[in-house]
């Protein structure tokens, strides 16, 4: 049974690591923001084209795309604003970039869009209220299912120890088996 215990532990570790990874993902962009504040100046001058080859600018664009990929295009079907070529999406994408350049965090930018469009604009529901269900229920199903499966397996295993299990599938009798050995030898 000790191996079953290992399984439980392995699953639990995963489950613990799961929410951990969630928050880690959220934290990353925020940590990157202070560095970006230092490069905000060039972005404001429309005619300075050096931004095109500046790695810091590329980084800002990449972060903008990441934030924008979490925002829903209000006029499309199930597209984020980074994917859509609708005018509104493209404007919103520009707003995201400008606000990042001005030093706002991704969380602040999301809050801004939520205040304008409602929670619907976020492609990942905020983890509060009824939305907790969409995060919690899968875990509940997984954990409950695991314990049900574990109990079943243990029950079956103790049944098997009593020698209840047939040694072979029913359709493989002694003649079959002899035939099988012969056939294998022949080939």
């Amino acid at each position: 049974m000790s191996r079953a215990l290992v399984w439980v532990l392995a699953l639990l570790v995963t489950l613990v690591a799961w929410p951990g990874a969630m928050t880690a993902q959220e934290a990353e962009p925020e940590a990157a923001t202070p560095a970006l504040q230092e490069v905000e100046a060039p972005a404001e001058q429309a005619d300075d084209r050096s931004a095109l080859t500046d790695p810091a600018e590329a980084e800002l664009d990449a972060l903008a795309a990441e934030v924008a990929s979490g925002l829903r295009c209000p006029v499309c079907r199930n597209q984020s604003i980074v994917e859509s070529n609708a005018d509104l999406s493209r404007e919103m994408h520009a707003v995201v970039r400008d606000r990042l350049a001005a030093g706002e965090t991704p969380a602040e930018i999301e809050a801004y869009f939520v205040s304008r469009y409602g929670e619907w604009i976020l492609l990942r529901p905020q983890a509060r209220g009824i939305n907790l269900l969409v995060y919690g229920l899968p875990l509940v199903v997984l954990v409950l299912g695991f314990f049900v499966a574990r109990n079943r397996l243990r029950k079956w295993a103790s049944a098997g120890d009593d020698g209840v299990a047939a040694d072979r599938p029913a359709d493989l009798g002694p003649e079959d088996e002899q035939w099988l050995r012969d056939a294998l030898r022949e080939s």
Binding site: E83, R90, R124, V141, D176, S187
Partner: protein, 677 residues
């Protein structure tokens, strides 16, 4: 004329399906040969009738007969012939017609293949397929009638949905999915047949095994093909958007995959009878649910065709089937109780059960996420979105666990094992896995999930290679043949098992590609003037010019970019925008420069309409994407191998040869030499 032929054929198919349903089920209970024969010939008749309807519609489409309502809806004289032919599935009525035709073809094929079988299941299976047919042919006679008469006859039509006439693959991806979806009707019909007949042993599973694997393979190819299409054609830069309709194809795939694994436990050990029946019934209901999502327009989706009466009808049919299944299961519950027994908790059996747990939890999660906006709106009227950020977050842990099981399960023997054997089996794969993880770390991966993925992928790959090695060496010892011949022999003699391993290998490739492209993809959107260069990773992207082209069915605005890779000239790329008369938004066609390492992906987002002096381009570096398609092909190859007829001369299909060789290679039959690597 075609209206009349089409409508009459569909009415005939409906009538035929009614006959098949009644004769099949009554014949199943009474065992009257006349009734059983009637059900068989009825299935042929339905197929003939639906084929007539199908051909009539193709003729109507290709001859631009706009008096036929469906042609008036999706046809146009400007659409190229190829896209006209495949516009059968570009809208609601046509796709239901196509669905119904495939269903009738499966019905006839089941009848033909089993024409000499005296199994008690067969007439019931005909009856159930006829019953499912009643619903679809019924839709075609009323709410989704493609053969309505249009008067006065229009001179031209709007043409199919632009998204669906943008790429030749549209001729392949939807049919694959439909063959997969509809193919799952066959195991469902036999499962219900097993319940009706009371013959709930594993016969229905053995009879339908190859049907299920084939349907699963179609579904897999359809899904990967859809990913490819959305990547190469839709131009939004990704291959999987967790769009409700993508999820609708993924859900039955997940449960069908669970089913393909759990039936092995029943075949071996006679356990999980009720579970397997429920899984396949659930799978079939999920295919209907997917169609409901697609066709009802209840959820926003690029695929949703229409709103109307179809949605409620689908829902009612799903509810009816669910009810009937539950009643049948309750009725047969005394026979479904299978006393489970295991020799040990650590065995292949229990790995299959864990596998099923994860697949079902995965299915539940995707289903919950897909329908969650509806649930929230029903509860408190709020609107929320559940999109890719959510689904990626929840599916990564489950996917990684499944990956791990894929290495453990097949390498564990049935029944029981010993610690020494475990060590012998898993030592090398574990080392390979850790090496793979370390390799990822050395190359600069610092994120948790990708590192775990690489480790497990290395582990699984090593176990697969080891299984092949053991199989080959056992074969060489028994038959005294050379290694390549031995490989050929294990592939043909034990195609189910080794086909399965090849499928696993393909899945590993896909998962690693997903991890790489998900983690290391980066992008940038920039407005460039002519001659300006932007930098993205190793790539320099220079805007050269805009151009335009008038084509028969559309107007194309294109752009040309010069590409430099690490400073070297790497040719040009030409992303475009297509303007269709029946679409307000232009449809983008991306330009993709693929290498085995990574793709450079350009989409034209906007351009200067007056002078063509600047263009806005979205550029993405997307690592490892080609490996998704390669992995998909490996999966398809493995599945094809697994459905090949077994080459074991008429003996009990699954058990004999397979068990012997498995035990040989697992070292259960006295293996002379210890495993050396």
């Amino acid at each position: 004329m075609l209206n009349l032929i089409g409508s009459t054929s569909i009415a005939a198919a409906l009538l035929g399906a009614l006959v098949v349903t009644v004769t099949g089920i009554v014949g199943g209970f009474t065992r009257k040969p006349g009734l059983i024969r009637a059900a068989r010939y009825g299935s042929y008749f339905v197929f003939a009738a639906m084929s007539t309807a199908f051909i009539s519609m193709e003729i109507a489409l290709l001859s631009h007969d706009f008096s036929v309502s469906y042609v008036a809806q999706v046809g146009s004289r400007e659409t190229p012939t190829y896209y006209t032919a495949i516009s059968l599935w570009s809208s609601l009525e046509g796709s239901i017609l196509f669905w119904g035709w495939i269903l009738s073809a499966y019905g006839a094929l089941v009848a033909f293949v089993n024409r000499k079988s005296d199994s008690r299941l067969i007439p019931f299976a005909h009856g159930v397929m006829g019953f499912v047919g009643l619903f679809f042919y019924g839709l075609l006679t009323g709410p989704a009638n493609p053969f309505g008469t249009v008067f006065p006859v229009p001179a031209n039509g709007p043409g199919p949905n632009p998204l669906l006439q943008n790429h030749p693959l549209m001729g392949l991806h939807p049919p694959m999915l439909y063959f997969g979806y509809v193919g799952l009707t066959v195991p469902f019909a036999f499962a219900i047949g097993a319940l009706l007949s009371g013959k709930v042993d594993d016969e229905w599973i053995r009879v339908t095994r190859r049907w299920t694997v084939a349907a699963w393979a179609f579904l897999s190819v359809g899904i990967v093909g859809g990913a490819w299409w959305s990547y190469e054609v839709l131009g939004w830069g990704g291959y999987w958007a967790w769009d409700p309709v993508e999820n609708a194809s993924f859900l039955p795939w997940l449960t069908a995959t669970a089913f393909l694994h759990s039936v092995m436990v029943q075949e071996r050990r006679g356990m999980l009878k009720l579970w397997n029946l429920s899984l396949i019934i659930g799978t079939f209901l999920l295919t209907l649910f997917g169609t409901f999502l697609t066709r009802s327009g209840i959820l926003d989706s690029v695929h949703a065709f229409t709103e109307g009466v179809i949605g409620p009808l689908f829902l009612a049919f799903i509810a009816l089937l669910m009810l009937v299944s539950l009643v049948l299961i309750a009725w047969r519950s005394d026979r479904l109780h299978s006393p489970g027994s295991l020799d040990a908790v650590v065995s292949r059996e229990s790995m299959f059960i864990l596998n099923n747990l994860l697949f079902v939890a995965f299915t539940f999660t995707v289903l919950l996420g897909t329908t969650f906006p509806l649930i929230v709106e029903a509860v408190n009227g709020n609107r929320v979105s559940v999109g890719p950020p959510y689904f990626n977050m929840v599916s990564i842990p489950i996917g990684v666990l499944l990956l791990f099981l894929m290495g453990v399960g097949p390498a564990l023997p049935w029944r029981r094992t010993t610690p020494e054997k475990m060590k012998r089996t898993f030592l090398v794969p574990a080392v390979v896995g850790l090496a793979a993880g370390l390799f990822g770390f050395v190359l600069g991966t610092r994120s948790f999930w990708p590192l775990v993925t690489f480790t497990f992928a290395g582990f699984v790959t090593a176990t697969i290679v080891e299984e092949f090695r053991k199989g080959i060496s056992a074969r060489r010892r028994i038959a005294g043949v050379s290694a390549p011949v031995a490989l050929g022999q294990i592939l043909t003699r034990n195609n189910r098992r080794y086909g399965g391993y090849i499928v696993h290998a393909g899945i590993v490739v896909i998962i690693v590609a997903l991890a790489l492209s998900g983690t290391y993809r980066f992008e940038r959107e920039v407005t460039l003037r002519r001659g300006e260069l932007m930098q993205l990773g190793d790539y320099g992207i220079m805007f050269d010019e805009l151009w335009a082209e008038e084509q028969e069915q559309r107007f194309v605005v294109g752009s040309t970019f010069s590409i430099f890779h690490k400073g070297d000239d790497a040719g040009t790329m030409r992303p475009r925008m297509n303007y269709y008369p029946n679409s307000q938004q232009p449809i983008a066609t991306p330009a993709v420069r693929s290498t085995l390492k990574e793709d450079l992906y350009l989409t034209l987002m906007a351009f200067d309409e007056a002078e063509g002096s600047h263009a806005t381009v979205r550029a993405i570096v997307n690592p490892a994407v080609p490996w998704l398609w390669i992995g998909g092909m490996i999966v398809a190859l493995g599945a094809i191998l697994a459905v090949m007829p077994q080459r074991s001369s008429g003996r009990p299909a699954v058990s004999a040869a397979e068990i012997a060789e498995e035990e040989e290679s697992a070292g259960l039959v006295d293996e002379p030499a210890a495993v050396t690597v």
